[in-house]
């Protein structure tokens, strides 16, 4: 058994248990806040990107007066229905810069006896031309959907092969979409347009509640553009050529969310910086105290041959150990509360939400740990330096 500087440092940390814990916890608060904020930001960013990638549409054409509702539906999956004439599809296809256009019809399941799932969005798509859902059906299903078959979003809590009833009709679940992070897609039920139209027609006789949507109506037209044009350009062409519609640019929806979140982030960031400065000051003061009351011991160590560097290292080792422990605690608590509050966060931010991917998560953790480490190091730097520079005899006399 030898005796090392690290051994001495660890004894010192255990000596004043409560004080060590106080230091670690103040670092934990800073690291935890930062970790939570960046994790939320990263996840939101990621799920927005993934969601729109899955949506696959550059533009979404909706009735002009429903633009806000359409955005809300797209981003937060808020239940809305709106309709416009199916004729518009042909006109949109003729607009300059439009490569493909596919209609979708949004229906809402009523909250009483008619349907198994209340308040679910039913999305009718055209299997011939749809480029958001249809490709998925081809890849994973390898056959067209039958007249009594539906697809479900990943968060609809039913199993493949199960049966769901909507407006008096039974449907078999043929498959589900991958998780996208967008509630608009994850909580919806998908069926071919023909199936949806038949359900509407027959709702008069089969369901307690009748759907009143006429044959040619659709809710939205999803547009893929010719890469020679920008989405903004094509949106202007569409709005110019066709009265009464609005072309929502998917990217812009995301950037507006980014802007909102940026405001939120900034205020949390200000709080984090204040917390950090406070933690720095507090730990700095505590370490000055620690160094002061241990000056005599430092003098004794110097007298028996400890170099300045060793004394400095001893104090820095204590500080960085505490702050890394604090950082780990903070990240654990931050991660735990994010997990516990994930639904609250999702609804209050009003955006789709997922955990960041593993490698990004790791980067966030490493960065937060590094900041925690830095906190201790910066706070203890001056006390450690001063202590190590003191003349041994003066140091030894100090405690007398």
């Amino acid at each position: 058994m030898g005796i090392s500087l690290f051994g001495i440092a660890e004894r010192n940390l255990r000596r004043k248990y409560f004080r060590s814990i106080a230091i670690a916890l103040s670092v934990a608060v800073v690291a935890g806040t930062l970790f939570s904020v960046t994790t939320v930001m990263e996840s939101v960013e990621l799920s927005l990107k993934r969601g729109t990638a899955r949506l696959g549409a550059d533009l979404m054409v909706v009735p002009a007066e429903y633009e806000q509702k359409a955005r809300a539906a797209l981003l937060a999956g808020e239940p809305t229905t709106f309709f416009m004439s199916g004729d518009l599809l042909r006109r949109v296809r003729n607009v300059k810069g439009v490569k493909t256009a596919a209609p979708q019809l949004f229906l809402q399941s009523a909250s009483y006896a008619c349907c198994d799932v209340a308040e679910a969005r039913l999305i009718g798509f055209d299997p011939e031309v749809d480029f958001t859902i249809a490709p998925w059906v081809k890849q994973r299903l390898d056959r067209p959907l039958g007249p009594k078959e539906i697809l479900i979003g990943r968060e609809v809590t039913y199993d493949v092969g199960g049966v769901m009833t909507f407006y008096g009709q039974e449907f078999t679940i043929a498959g589900y979409l991958e998780l996208t992070g967008m509630r608009f897609l994850d909580n919806s039920i998908f069926m071919p347009l023909d199936t949806a139209r038949r359900m509407i027609r027959e709702s008069a006789s089969k369901a307690k509640q009748t759907l009143t949507v006429s044959e040619d109506q659709i809710s939205t037209i999803l547009v893929q553009i010719d890469p020679k044009y920008s989405p903004e350009q094509v949106a202007i062409y569409i709005e110019h050529d066709i009265d009464g519609v609005k072309a929502v640019v998917s990217e812009q929806v995301i950037s507006s969310v980014r802007k909102q979140l940026f405001v939120l982030l900034r205020s949390i960031l200000v709080v984090s910086v204040i917390l950090w400065v406070m933690a720095l000051l507090m730990i700095g003061v505590i370490f000055s105290m620690i160094v002061n009351e241990r000056q005599r011991e430092v003098g004794l160590l110097r007298a028996m041959g400890a170099r300045r560097r060793a004394v400095f290292g001893l104090i820095m080792y204590e500080a960085s150990t505490l702050s890394i422990i604090g950082g780990l605690i903070g990240i654990a608590i931050g991660g735990g509360s994010l997990y516990a509050l994930r639904n609250v966060i999702r609804t209050s931010l009003n955006v789709p939400y997922l955990w960041p991917e593993a490698d990004q998560f790791l980067v966030i953790i490493v960065l937060c740990l590094f900041l925690a480490f830095l906190t201790g190091v910066v706070a203890a730097l001056y006390p450690a330096f001063r202590s190590s520079r003191m003349e041994p005899y003066a140091a030894i006399r100090k405690g007398e």
Binding site: I3, I8, N12, G305, R307, P392, I396
Partner: protein, 221 residues
Amino acid sequence: MIEVKNISKHYQAGGQAVHAVNDANLHIERGEFLSIVGHSGSGKTTLLSLMGGLTRPDSGTVVIDGVDLWSISDDELSGFRNRKINFIYQFASLIPTLTALENVMLPSAFGKWTGDTEQRARELLGLVGLSDKLNSYPSELSGGQQRRVAIARAFINEPEVVLADEPTGDLDEDTEAEIFNLFRRFNEEKKLTFVLVTHSRELAAKTRRQVRMTHGVLTEN
């Protein structure tokens, strides 16, 4: 072995200059056993810490084994202390978080040492009569026991010079005699140079050479 030349150290206390050590000269041969006597506040501890390189003199030089302590770097001086010099302090000087055994071994943390330090620490603690207290913390030891741990620690690096400041201050007569014999044994067997500050005339009388401090002035007795 030790060459103290025209060394002075003063302190500023309450607007007044205190000449703790005033132009002291001292030559000590290798293996000498020397005692320093003097009234309280006459500058004995200050002289000892000047000789051990713990505090920088206002003027004068200290040369040990051909090395001028205040002309080498702080790192070199630290290493020099670690290898060649050891101290026994007038006051409690153990690290409270370490056991008796660990306290004795502590100097080995600061240098490249060969040999079994722990074995040697056990032997030394045995020599000062503390074989049964190896794993006790300072707070669990009496004042005299703590002092004996500090004494054991002073020999852990097999130093060439030991500077002892009233090392037997709080020991009973019998223990004092035992410890003094131990000092003499190390002094004789290992050719160790020993400087002993003491208030006890009896103890001083047992050493071959005595010097006296009076208001910072050093005189041969």
